[in-house]
Each structure stands twice: as structure tokens, then as C-alpha cells.
């Protein structure tokens, strides 16, 4: 028995050291962040792009080049998958283990800034000026984040389809009106050649819903929240214009133009079983390769207030606990060079954040097949409400739109959303 006890004690002690100590070097990247090691200061960085080989490859390239370009700082990367990245950040903030450089989704940034996760970002003013509006994140009039790209939405169609139903091909200067678009959906439906007239992408969930559908609501004249105070959604998200959007959007499903049970793979447009597809520029490459010159990338319809699309994508920021913000800023300026912006755009298909970089990306250079997305971004881009409440607003809006898609009364769904958002604002003392 004594032998057994001794053996157990010895095994326990050895296990404790092995299990707790074997990751010490890994955790050092966060806990020693900003601490000088000799002459070099370690800058820890977290990226949301784990599993996305193309995006992370460019980040790694920039880090390698930055580390080789000077000896004062060394950036150490830790990769996280996008789906759980925000949760990891929240946990790191709670345990005071945030890295120095983070990447942050544009609409989420105000929440992180408000919550104290981020500190204002200082970068070269010429660089700041050169970035597309959607590639910069401001909160309380201060720059908190800057990114290498923006994304844009558009309507994908086959030229042959529009010609077959005698529809006008819209332009940036003259997009479809609501009446034209309604007539087009009805005409396509009447041909009987397609399972559905349009794929709205409702098989995707999460941030896609507010990103994709709130701009349509804004084109109707509605919005998610009162942008003058950010202290109420009542009378805005459930305004007449917003309800008109809800009724119209729901009717496209009720009339059978769109599939309420749409799956997330969105292959039907290329397969030819759905005539139109509302999608982002990141997804257009496959359609272009499949359809070639028959593919049309069209502006979203004008529902009264002009076409609108969501702006802002992933950007880089500096955590509030970063002890070397000047080193972090130096790295962010480094990765926002045209060289890396071009690499990001070529690899992940998003819109380059600067005009000079766009000229070097064949798909987005003037005359390039996707250059029209740059026009959409410049002409129609609307930032999602830059308020810390956005995290809650987006979730509540997603539920309301999902209910509308599934046949709920638009007025009731949006009234409920307004109540819920206002309750959330009050619960959080209006995020002051």
C-alpha cells in the first residue's frame, strides 16, 4: 500500500508538471507581450483567419518581412478560426491576456472600443487618407482600426436570362427601380425555367443578415437604429419604410420567388436553377469562371433612397493592454502597404483598400471584370451603425428578418425587434 501511495504521488507530481508546463513557451507570446527580450520587443498578434490558407498566408508573409526589416520588434502570430474568434477575444479581455495586435470585424469594432478592448490607432495620415472609407473604423471620431480590404455586394445575373425576359440591364447611374425589379422577378418566375427567381443568401446566418439585408431596408428609407443618438430603435427599425421593406422582402418568399429553406452552399445560380443571386464580391470568381461573359455583376435595386450596400470588413487594431503601441502601429502600417493589399486582394478576392493597390489587381483594375464592385463600394457603401450596441442590434435584426422570411408579419416582427433593442440599450445604460 505504501508503494502504491508513493507511486501515485510520484505520478501525480510528474503529471502536474507535464500538463501545466508543456505549453509555457506558447503562452509566453501573450503574457510577455510587449516585454523587451534583449533588444527585441515581442508584439503578439491574433488573426481570425485560421483555416483560411490564402488569407493567413499573406498575414504570415507580412510578419516575416516585418520581422526581417528591423530588429526592434518581433511580431508573433497566433491563429484562431473565425467562428469562435470573437469569443476568444472576449475571454482574453476578461482574463487580461489580450494580444497586442488584433483583427476586428468593422461593425464589431465600436463594441470592442467601448468595452475597452482597443485603444485608438495612430497611423500615418497619408495612409489613413488613402484607405477606402469601408477600410477604416472610427468610434467617437477616433480611428481605432484600419484594414487592407473592403467587401461589396451586388446582384449576379445571366445576360441571357435578362435578354430572354426583355429586362433592362441596369447601370450604376441607372439601377433598377423597385417596379422594374418586381416585374423582373415576376417575369422570371413566369418562364417556369427556374426553381426560384432569386437566391438572397438566406441559407447563411449570423452577420450576413444585417450585412446583406439592412442596406435594402436603408434603400427603402429605414434603418437599424436612430443614428443621431444611438439610444433608440423605436420609430426607425419599425418605421413605415422599414416595415415596407419587411413586407416586400417577405413577399419575395411568399410568392415563391425565393426559397425560405435556401441552403448555404449557393450553387444554384451557377447550376442555372436560380436566375439571380444577391452575393458578395468574394463569391463572384466561381460564377465568372463558370459563366464567362454571360455573367453580369449588377447594382442592387434602388428602392427609393438609392441602392445601398454594407461597408466595412476585417481590420487591424491595437488592444488597450498593448505595451508597445508604437511597435503595433508600425506593423499595421507595414501590412497596409500596397504590396500586401494586392496580395490579399489576389488571394481572397476582396476589394483592395487603396486605389493604387486596386490598379495592380487585374480583377479590380479599371476595366477588370470585378472593377464595378469598387464603384458599388464607393457609391453605395453604408457603414453599419457604429455603436457598441451593434452586437445586440445585429442579432435581434437577424431574428426579425428570419421570422419575416418564414412568414411572420413584418410589422409585428420589427416592432418586437425595436422593443428588444430598446430594452437592451436601457439594460446597458445606453452603452455610455
Amino acid at each position: 500500500m505504501i508503494k502504491l501511495t508513493r507511486a501515485l504521488l510520484a505520478a501525480s507530481a510528474a503529471s502536474a508538471i507535464v500538463l501545466s508546463g508543456c505549453a509555457a513557451t506558447d503562452s509566453a507570446s501573450n503574457s510577455e507581450e510587449g516585454a523587451a527580450t534583449g533588444e527585441t520587443t515581442t508584439i503578439s498578434m491574433w488573426s481570425h483567419a485560421a483555416g483560411n490558407d490564402q488569407e493567413i498566408a499573406t498575414v504570415k508573409e507580412a510578419i516575416t518581412d516585418f520581422n526581417a526589416s528591423q530588429t526592434q520588434y518581433e511580431v508573433v502570430l497566433e491563429e484562431f478560426p473565425q467562428e469562435s474568434y470573437n469569443d476568444s477575444i472576449a475571454a482574453a479581455a476578461a482574463s487580461n491576456t489580450l494580444p497586442c495586435v488584433v483583427d476586428v470585424d468593422g461593425p464589431i469594432m465600436p463594441n470592442w472600443a467601448w468595452a475597452g478592448y482597443l485603444q485608438p490607432l495612430t497611423i500615418d495620415s497619408a495612409l489613413e487618407q488613402s484607405l477606402l472609407p469601408g477600410a477604416k473604423g472610427y468610434y467617437n471620431d477616433q480611428l481605432y482600426s484600419a484594414g487592407a480590404w473592403d467587401a461589396a455586394l451586388g446582384m449576379l445575373a445571366r445576360k441571357s436570362t435578362l435578354e430572354a425576359v426583355g429586362a433592362r440591364i441596369p447601370t450604376v447611374a441607372e439601377p433598377w427601380t423597385q417596379a422594374e425589379f418586381d416585374a423582373l422577378l415576376a417575369a422570371i418566375d413566369a418562364t417556369g425555367d427556374y426553381d426560384y427567381a432569386i437566391d438572397w443568401g438566406n441559407g447563411w446566418t449570423g452577420e450576413w443578415f444585417p450585412y446583406a439585408y439592412s442596406p435594402i431596408m436603408q434603400s427603402f428609407g429605414g434603418d437599424l437604429i436612430d443614428r443621431s443618438s444611438f439610444e433608440t430603435a423605436d420609430g426607425v427599425i419599425n418605421s413605415d419604410a422599414s416595415v415596407a421593406f419587411g413586407e416586400w422582402f417577405g413577399s419575395t418568399f411568399a410568392k415563391g420567388y425565393a426559397n425560405a429553406a435556401q441552403t448555404g452552399d449557393r450553387t444554384e445560380f451557377i447550376a442555372g436553377t436560380i436566375a439571380l443571386q444577391y452575393n458578395g464580391n468574394w463569391a463572384v470568381k466561381d460564377a465568372y469562371e463558370a459563366l464567362g461573359d454571360d455573367l453580369l455583376i449588377l447594382p442592387p435595386p434602388n428602392f427609393g433612397q438609392g441602392p445601398k450596400i454594407g461597408a466595412a470588413s476585417w481590420q487591424f487594431g491595437i488592444s488597450s493592454t498593448c505595451e508597445s503601441p508604437e511597435g503595433a502601429s508600425a506593423f499595421i502600417e507595414f501590412i497596409l502597404q500596397d504590396k500586401y493589399i494586392v496580395a490579399f486582394a489576389n488571394r481572397i478576392g476582396l476589394i483592395p483598400a487603396t486605389a493604387t493597390a486596386a490598379e495592380q489587381v487585374p480583377n479590380y483594375a479599371p476595366g477588370g471584370p470585378f472593377a464595378v464592385f469598387v464603384e458599388f463600394s464607393n457609391s453605395y457603401g453604408v457603414l453599419r451603425p457604429p455603436t457598441p450596441a451593434y452586437l445586440s442590434v445585429s442579432t435581434i435584426y437577424e431574428k426579425a428578418v428570419a421570422d419575416i422570411i418564414n412568414g411572420a408579419n413584418a410589422k409585428q416582427a420589427l416592432d418586437a425587434a425595436a422593443d428588444e433593442i430598446d430594452a437592451n440599450l436601457a439594460d446597458n445604460d445606453f452603452y455610455r
Binding site: 500538463l19 501545466s20 505549453a23 501573450n30 483555416g51 478560426p81 475571454a91 491576456t97
Partner: protein, 296 residues
Amino acid sequence: MKTKLSVGLVLQYALAVFFMLLFCLPLLFMISSSLKDPQAIFADVKSWKAFFPVGDVNFDQYLGVFERLPMAQFVFNSLLVSGVVVIAGLFVNSLAAFAIARLKFRGQNSLLVFLIATLVIPFETIAMPLLVLVNSLPRLSWEDGSIEITIGWLNTYLVQIMPFIAGGFSIFLFVQYFKTLPKELDEAAIIDGASYFSIYWRIIVPLAGPAFATSAILSFLAIWNAYLWPVMVVQTEALRPVQVGLDYFWASTSEEGTQWGEIMAYSTLITLPILIIFVIFQRAFVASVASSGVKG
């Protein structure tokens, strides 16, 4: 020997087969989809083909999984964490249960009630306080050839293991089972001069195989499927477990899109250990569930 084929028996078998198919269909869908291209998965989804590996069957999705993430590392991490939690948990929880079920001391019943009460508290409610707690605890670490004390457990295997070794459910399960064993065994052993630990180790443990098997399966399942806690406490890829790995395939708003085929292949790979363990222990598992009156 002849068996009478009554209508009732036929119905019974038909129902059994029906429910077996019902529960097997998701697994069949997952496995067969992992052998198809993503386009084929969605093309087949509205027909019986969804449940069978038909058409262009290949292992491309499995190759994709191994290219996208460090599969072997994730599996190793999960096996290590689950294994240690199960082994340590069996020892700790059964010892605690032995004390409650076989010894006599004041507050015995209150203690059991308290342990059962912990079962109704969702982990999500204690996750944040637990995070703050483990981040302020000391641990031993091996640095520069010597053992040192470091504050904070984040980014270790320890933080994925230690909070889950002791479990109210597991203790309750052991208590229920130990109570079914005759008290006379303990009394005889005491007369022979055995210590309480000897009674536990030499008499109770050998007789409680089904309870150990059930506890092992349920603990392993819980830790193998852990997601929220690893997301919160693991900040480095080298220590990430398999369930967080699923997130690597979700990217609807990227050019690549969500990799449904790879998700199915990955799900198949990470489901296999669970199935194997269940098949190995299923007899003991069923016996324990039947005798302890506890349903997992």
C-alpha cells in the same frame, strides 16, 4: 426449437429496426457525404442517395481536412485531455462516492444533495468566474531546465483537465451503484483488518465495473465534445482540441465558402473514437444504466 412468430413480435422488431434506422441515418449521411464532392452532397440531399456513398466516391475531403488543420495534433490533444480527465475522474469520483455510500458521517445526505444540486447549474453560468479563477492560480512550469511557479493556467493542458475531474453526476452514479453492493462485504473485510482504502480498492472497485464503464464513457463524451471552455482558455493552436477544429471549416463569407464536404469528413474522423469506445464498453454501459437507474 421453433419460435412462434406472433404479430406482436413482428411489430416489436419492425419498431426496433425503424428506430435503429432513424438513429443511424444522420451517421450514414455524415459518412457518405464525407466521400463526395460538396456539389454532390447538395445534389443528393433530396433523395435516398444522401445516405449512401454513390456517384464519384473519393477521399478528397479527408485530404482537405489534413491540409487545412493540424488534425493529428488536435486529436492528440483531445485524447490526452479526455484520457486524463476520465482516469483521474474515475479515481476521485469513485472515492468520493465510496465515502458517501459506504461510510457513516454527519451531513452525508446533505453532501449528496449538494452534489446533485450542482447538476442543475449550467456550465455557461460559471464559465467566466472559472476563467478568472484559473487565470490567477499558480502552476508548475518547466523553464530553462528548472521547475518554476507561474501564475495563470491559460494555454495549458492543465486548464482543460483540472476543472472537470470531479463531477457531481459521476459521483451520483457511483453512489447509486455502490449502494446496490451488500454491506456485509465491508463488514467482513473490516473484521479481517482491512482499511477503508483496502475495502474500496480490493472489494468495491472490482465489483463496480459497469459503473466505472458508464462514468468513463459519459466523462469521455463530455470532454471530447468540449467547445466553449477550450475557446476561452486555449489561445494557441498547439493545444486546441478537436471540437474547436470544426470552426476551421466555416467561412460562408469568404471566396472559399463553407467546406461542407470537409466538415463531414472531419466530423466522421472525430466521431470514430466515441463510437469505438462505446462499442467496447456498451455491455457494461447498459448493465450500469439498468442497475443504477441513472440515464445518461
